[in-house]
Amino acid sequence: MNADPTTDDPIELAAAEWLVRCDRGLTPAEQAEFEAWRRTDPRHAAVYQALAGSWDLMSDARHAPSLLAGQAEREAERQAVAAAPRRRGWRLAVGLAAAVAIGLTAFLGYREYRLRPYDATFTTAIGGVEQRALPDGSVITLNTDSVVAVHLERGQRRVALQRGEAHFAVAKDKSRPFIVSANGVDVRAVGTAFSVRLRDESVDVLVTEGKVAVAPPEPPPAATATPENLTPAPAPASYLVTAGQRTSVSLKPAAAPAPVIAVPAETVRQALAWQERRLDFEDASLADIVAEMNRYSPRRLAIADPALATKRFGGSFPAGDVDTLVRQLQRNFKVTVERQGDDLVLHLPAETKAP
């Protein structure tokens, strides 16, 4: 057998990843993806089975309470066991009792912790991506240059997206709806995962798991901008957005109702690539690529030439890494770069138009 404890077998790595995801609980979409992965190659299923087998064996480790003790105690116990094997049963009983007591205390304490009122504001700088776990078990991932204010109480969980974009993986809790407000638009979820992006003229919602109810702003949106004085229940005009769909609520007065658009899985993945600090583009205009890149970088890009702005390009770039993108554009479109302070202006040189 291999003496090196790590593996570089991509199948085993993928299998371990799937095992962990199964252990955590698969969404229907992941379930389908998992089945597809298993069918792709008989080795996939075999390697997965081998891993799952030893994972299941590990449940028996429950009967080894010594694991709960500290390192020193563990060492002491090992020596004691070696010296006096008869004491083992007694130690096991005490260990088990202690484990139960610790577990119970932790559980009760944790329940109290989950339900206590909680207020926090999270902020990311330009180019930053941060993940924050809330006491209820939900996880917020903030994109670049974003601000969220979190308010948890017994009856409800409220988050005000004050700037930027965030993805919410919401812990299930039927007694406490999870409501994200962005400029008067309420997005309400029970246990699901979705992104909300606050733009200048719209609020964009992308649902990655489960479903949410989106409530557009009240007709006179004038003085109701703070999240606190919005009614918790969705307005009658609210509508459902389910996994794999997105909607964009216009913030303009008297805007047409926002359509719900189904998005292919690949598009969802690209729209969430920022969580891995990457930006994925497929056949996007340079204008869009530059605008997106500028969200993540204090050094901004500008396009001088309209003919360049409409060029289409794709690829995966580190978010905020303006230089890498510029190098790619130089290679592909022979752009020239003009520096204006910290900013970079892109030109399409005249001579390349007629080579």
């Binding site: 291999n2 085993e12 030893s54 994972w55 449940s59 694991l67």
Partner: protein, 76 residues
């Protein structure tokens, strides 16, 4: 079995114990240790592979060996 967990790197073993012995959820482990859930996932996956190798080396479970890879497996 306990030996298999002891053989893991400390952080990995801690996460493993919280999940398999204490039965905490992934979010709970992440919150408790101040880690991203992604890190918890990755550590558990890594731990899983090491435990499998540890057990296989001692004759437990199927002795799955490293498969030959032809580069046709994309984990996505």
């Amino acid at each position: 079995m306990a030996d298999a967990i002891r053989a893991l790197p400390p952080r990995c073993a801690e996460i493993f114990t919280l999940r398999r012995i204490d039965g905490l959820s992934y979010a709970e482990i992440a919150a408790k240790l101040g880690l991203a859930e992604r890190t918890v996932n990755a550590q558990l996956a890594l731990g899983m592979i090491r435990v499998r190798q540890f057990l296989a080396a001692r004759g437990f479970g199927p002795a799955q060996t490293q498969t030959e890879t032809e580069g046709n497996a994309d984990p996505r």
